[in-house]
């Protein structure tokens, strides 16, 4: 409990900032939907007429006349990118920051086994992601009520669940990397999140690159697929969960045998 509380306190400012930013952008995005809906024909046409650009963002398969379609693309991008960056940042810095700010020497000379330190840090990262998502979902529900939309629960829930798993995957992969580095690694973390995002854009562009969807968690958060199939694409999801498990295993293994700088 001591360590978990400490970690949560250390990450509190970042959590509040990111949650507020994502929730605010999401709320604004939802609140302008009624305005956009009235011009839906032009917008839908415009968005789906941008050729491969539309394809990259999955906008060719979406009906913007439906709130859920709009939500999946616009809000999905905000929560997807924002959440991915937040998850990458907290995952990559979790273990590495102790060595970067030279507090590892302090922390690890207390009678606490290293695997417990790793477990509590991982738990803190996951808990913070959960809090961010709960807050974002609450704001989303509130905003949809304000504009009087009543979207179907199941696809909405699946989209949120997919993004939650995406954040957990990115955080876990970065957490694994965090155990290998002894500096900040913020660039690595944000780079990984951005790379995952771009991989999915490329996968959307051409059939030949479709396999890239297996590599990136954005492959299973594509709202068009989730809305159409009524489920999170299981083939991409499975690979994603394996990535997450690999990251976590690597962290426990590496941190247990690491020379602390």
């Amino acid at each position: 409990m001591v360590l978990l509380r400490h970690e949560m306190k250390q990450g509190r400012a970042a959590l509040i900032l990111w949650t507020a930013s994502i929730a605010l952008l999401l709320a604004v995005c939802i609140l302008i939907y009624p305005e956009m809906e009235s011009q839906v024909n032009e917008i839908s046409g415009m968005f789906s007429d941008m050729g491969s650009f539309s394809a990259a963002f999955g906008m060719d398969q979406i009906d913007f006349g439906e709130f859920i379609g709009f939500f999946g693309i616009e809000c999905g991008n905000i929560l997807g990118l924002g959440g991915a960056f937040y998850a990458a940042m907290s995952g990559i810095s979790s273990l590495a920051k102790e060595e970067k700010q030279h507090t590892a020497e302090f922390l690890l000379t207390h009678p606490v086994p290293r695997r417990k330190v790793v477990a509590k840090k991982l738990l803190a990262v996951l808990l913070q992601i959960l809090i961010l998502n709960i807050a974002v979902i609450a704001i989303t529900i509130l905003s949809t009520l304000v504009i009087g939309e009543r979207p179907e629960i199941r696809p909405m829930a699946l989209i949120f669940l997919a993004y939650l798993i995406l954040q957990i995957e990115i955080a876990s992969v970065c957490f694994g990397i965090s155990s290998f580095i002894s500096r900040g690694g913020l660039g690595i973390g944000l780079g990984i999140a951005a790379l995952f995002y771009v991989l999915n854009l490329i996968a959307n562009l051409t059939e030949k690159a479709r396999f890239l969807k297996y590599l990136t968690p954005f492959g299973y958060t594509e709202s068009a697929d989730i809305i159409a199939d009524g489920r999170i694409p299981p083939q991409y999801l499975t690979v994603g969960i394996l990535f997450a498990l690999a990251g976590i295993t690597a962290a426990f293994y590496r941190y247990g045998t690491k020379d602390i700088a």
């Binding site: 507090t103 922390l107 000379t109 009678p111 045998t257």
Partner: protein, 292 residues
């Protein structure tokens, strides 16, 4: 006698860079032990291996008879450690860091912490980021001592502390030692080792040079001879480290005392002083010259 620290054939390489080579060292329970060496000699590497922060390339370390590799948490429960560089979470307040350290140990140390903070004149309301090096060192001292450890491992503890605080710090350590705690501290300041430690080991370039009581280390048979009234050194063999200032000559003499007195008696001296050399002089002479 039970051993507080046992280091056997400890070797640590960082890739190809040397840390320490085949180091053997034991420290008895209740000892006040000094670990001396120039910067980069391997003092911190040895200490970090003792605490399980780094893993030896070969050899082993044990504390109170338990191998560090298998009983890290058990051992750390009985150890208080003060790192050479005192870094803490910058956004935390002093009292929160001290409390966090006690909580991690699952102990209530509030009373002892308060007493230590008072003696060291540490303001616990300040944020870590506002502290000077000296004050961060004090936080480090409190965290290392508040749980009354059986073994204190202190890496360059006095650097950054002002002389009054250094004195208070050593008074606290002597009290703890008198109450049965084993003290193991590293330093490159020989005078403080000589003043406070019962035993000391000298390490250089990763290897142990000598380990003995501080009295024996200082007692090499040589004398520091200072004479006034002559401008050039007397013609004596076994003279080292000769210093000449105006009409005073000072040198270390390691030969026959009667011969020294015979030669000095024939000189027009106005003053004479014959002293034990301090550890610093011996250290510099025996181990420092190779650097030059």
């Amino acid at each position: 006698m039970p051993k507080a620290i046992e280091i056997s054939s400890l070797t640590k390489y960082y890739g190809k860079a040397r840390g320490i080579v085949d180091l053997n060292l034991t420290v008895d329970e209740g000892d006040f032990f000094g670990f001396i060496g120039p910067n980069g000699a391997g003092k911190s590497t040895t200490i970090r291996a003792l605490l399980g922060l780094i893993f030896p390339t070969s050899g082993s370390t044990a504390i109170f008879g338990k191998p560090v590799s298998r009983n890290r948490s058990d051992i750390l429960d009985a150890v208080g450690y003060m790192p050479s560089e005192a870094f803490f979470y910058p956004t935390m307040r002093v009292r929160d860091v001290i409390r966090f350290s006690a909580d991690l140990r699952g102990k209530d140390c509030r009373e002892e912490a308060r007493s230590l903070c008072d003696r060291l004149e540490l303001d616990t309301a300040k944020k870590i980021s506002e502290l000077s090096l000296g004050n961060r060192k004090k936080v480090s001292i409190v965290c290392a001592l508040q749980h009354r450890p059986k073994l204190c491992i202190l890496d360059e503890p006095t650097s950054g502390l002002d002389p009054l605080m250094q004195r208070e710090f050593y008074i606290i350590l002597k009290e703890r030692n008198a109450q049965g705690a084993t003290i193991f501290l590293s330093s490159h300041v020989l005078s403080e080792i000589q003043r406070y430690c019962k035993h000391a080991a000298v390490i250089r370039e990763g290897r142990l040079l000598v380990c003995d009581s501080t009295r024996n280390l200082g007692h090499t048979g040589a004398k520091r001879v200072t004479v006034s009234g002559i401008a050039s050194p007397p013609s004596l063999e076994n003279m080292r480290d000769v210093k000449i200032t105006e009409n005073t000559v000072s040198f270390l003499y390691g030969g026959d005392i009667r011969r020294l007195l015979g030669i000095l008696a024939s000189l027009p001296l106005t003053d004479i002083k014959i002293d034990e050399p301090d550890l610093e002089e011996i250290f510099l002479h025996d181990y420092g010259k190779e650097d030059a």
